[in-house]
């Protein structure tokens, strides 16, 4: 799947100075499946907005967004539901975990839709993310950093063409971030998927095909 943005800009960005932006000032931006994109920008430059528009949870934008040459404006409820189940995965900045469910149940909530990952695989990934001992705990009592890793693991438990990761290492230390990035990259590679990762800073250690500034 390709993602193409034609002069797309979220409406709130119109009121800001976007000079020098690698996306908002560009005529047409194209993302290709299988490649890793890292978008770095300061707060309020529209990182979350960009990903949200692509994911269909923000509709206030100007311009066009195409997924595989289809205008996302024409998508139905069903289309979006299928896309989010099988083509697009999102690691939300706000995590969107259910506090009353355990970490594992949160993960299963996603995984049970398509049974994408086996229980062994989930355990293995949890181990690598340093989550193994927290899987049975309620998500609400985990630290934000732990929750963030639960959200990462959940996002990997579905088939996808693109993984949209919104500041997903913001509360994880450098060492664990690198481990987590490794897990993400492996899953993307095994799915031949693209990765669009946004971050405030400190991404220089993360490997990527394309780096952009907003």
């Amino acid at each position: 799947m390709t993602i193409q943005l034609d002069k797309m800009i979220p409406l709130p960005m119109l009121e800001q100075d976007t000079t020098g932006s690698g996306i908002w000032e560009i005529e047409s931006v194209r993302f290709e499946q299988g490649k890793t994109y890292i978008i770095e920008a300061a707060s309020g430059r529209g990182k979350t907005s960009l990903l949200s528009v692509i994911y269909g949870i923000r509709k206030d934008y100007r311009g066009k967004v195409y997924l595989d040459h289809n205008d996302i404006n024409d998508f139905t409820w069903r289309d979006w539901s299928l896309l989010r189940k099988e083509k697009l995965s999102f690691i939300f900045q706000g995590l969107e975990l259910f506090d009353n469910l355990t970490a594992l149940e949160n993960i299963q909530l996603k995984n049970s839709i398509s049974n994408h990952q086996s229980p062994q695989k989930i355990e293995e990934m949890a181990e690598r993310l340093g989550l193994a001992e927290f899987l049975q705990r309620k998500a609400g009592i985990l630290s934000f950093g732990q929750q963030q890793r639960v959200a990462i693991l959940r996002a990997l438990c579905q088939p996808f063409d693109y993984l949209l990761a919104d500041e997903c290492f913001s509360h994880i230390d450098r060492e664990n971030s690198l481990k987590a990035y490794q897990v993400i990259r492996e899953e993307c590679e095994s799915q031949k998927a693209g990765l669009i990762l946004t971050s405030l800073n400190g991404t220089d250690l993360l490997e990527a095909h394309v780096r952009m500034k907003l």
């Binding site: 509709k59 979006w80 969107e96 149940e105 996603k110 839709i113």
Partner: protein, 398 residues
């Protein structure tokens, strides 16, 4: 999917749903039991009617002061008779024929005290008369005039008049043996004839002194000289005397009848009134309960709105998100239907055994229409709630 249920069912308000459940059940029981009992009583009424066959209803105009003063005609005009005959409840209608010449009767018998009285006669075709007697025939040649009087007249004499005056009571058979001379007077002095007359029967149906129809036609022809008047009574045959339209019609027109005869019609009206009252109450209860259901589910959805948005972000279609609510609703609806049918059938059985003691034959099982009504209503409530659920979850999704 099971996670969806445990996430979304958490936010229900048990009290709201319980009250909605109980309220709907109560409304349903009231409505279903009302319909069941209405049908029961209706069938009892029409069963009783079968015993009596079609009802013969004698109608007259209410007597008022206008008639006393001779300002208003007390009789039925041909148009009015036509109107009565055209009513859907009227199967047959016949006006009473009365004598338009003076009639008197007297006895000459050494075994009974003599008496003399002025009389009147009325006649209707034979098929309306409840007395079947071989003696009930007349021909100009035989001259014998058979007479039918109301059973009540004899009772009045035997149980009222005779004991108080020290007179003997007279059995029916003896009365029939008394020869009565009937004097029919034409216009002019000395223009009269005496005929032998005899009481041949006693009617429970018609409160009048009846003679054969043929005879009265003949006699009116021969002796009659009064100005012709409209018949003051009309007999009406109705196959369904329970029809409340009869009473309504009579009241609208200011006609009168022996009320007893129309007891079932009157009962039907009262019954219908009670039942419609019950139905209105039941409908209000059901409507309120429906609203409580609607509001409880909406409340549940709005309490879960964050969760619903989150699930939507994770890729759940709003229809999938609605499913736990629909399933909950379905469970409650099935519960309401089951419970209210159960209670109604228990009530029915109780009612039936109670009615059995009064020797009324009432069905102890529910009528088919009861199941139909319950099913229809519950489906209506269910689907309108499903629509409301879908609309409100959709609103939360993107």
């Amino acid at each position: 999917m099971r996670y969806l249920y445990s996430i979304l069912w958490k936010d229900h308000s048990r009290t709201h749903l319980l009250w909605a459940f109980l309220g709907t059940t109560a409304g349903f029981v009231l409505l279903l039991a009302g319909i069941q009992f209405y049908l029961d009583i209706k069938s009892v009424l029409s069963q009783n009617q079968d015993l009596m066959d079609p009802e013969y209803i004698v109608i007259n105009k209410k007597v008022n002061i206008g008639q006393t003063l001779g300002l208003v005609m007390a009789g039925f005009s041909p148009e009015e008779i036509e109107e009565i005959a055209s009513q859907p409840f009227a199967d047959q209608v016949a006006p009473f024929l009365s004598n338009n010449f003076p009639v008197s009767g007297y006895t000459e018998n050494e075994r009974f005290p003599d008496f003399y009285t002025d009389l009147f006669f009325e006649a209707i075709p034979d098929e309306y008369i409840d007395v079947k007697s071989e003696d009930w025939n007349w021909s100009p040649e035989s001259g014998n005039i058979p007479i039918i009087i109301p059973q009540d007249y004899l009772n009045l004499y035997n149980f009222g008049f005779a004991p108080s005056q020290g007179l003997p009571q007279i059995p029916k058979g003896v009365i029939s043996m008394i020869n009565i001379n009937i004097r029919l007077k034409g216009q002019g002095r000395g223009n009269y004839d005496d005929y032998p007359g005899r009481i041949v029967g006693f009617s429970n149906r018609i409160h009048s002194i009846l003679v054969p129809h043929d005879f009265l036609i003949w006699a009116n022809e021969k002796y009659g000289y009064f100005k012709k008047t409209d018949p003051s009574q009309v007999i009406l045959v109705s196959k369904d005397p329970t029809d409340p339209a009869i009473i309504k019609f009579l009241e609208e027109k200011g006609y009168d009848t022996i009320r007893e005869k129309l007891k079932s019609s009157r009962m039907n009206i009262i019954l219908k009134f009670i039942i419609s009252f019950l139905v209105v109450i039941a409908s209000i209860i059901i409507a309120l309960a429906f609203l409580v259901f609607l509001l409880s589910l909406q409340l549940m959805i709005s309490r879960s709105s964050e969760k619903i948005r989150r699930l939507n972000k994770l890729g759940y279609h709003y229809r999938e998100i609605s499913r736990p609510y629909v399933v909950l609703l379905l469970i409650l609806m099935v519960g309401v239907t089951g419970l209210s049918l159960l209670i109604t059938s228990i009530l029915t059985r109780q009612f039936s055994s109670m009615a059995g003691e009064w020797s009324l034959d009432i069905s102890s099982s529910l009528y088919g229409i009861i199941y139909g009504t319950a099913l229809g209503l519950i489906t209506l409530i269910f689907f309108s709630n499903v629509v409301a659920i879908l609309v409100s979850t959709k609103k939360l999704c993107k």
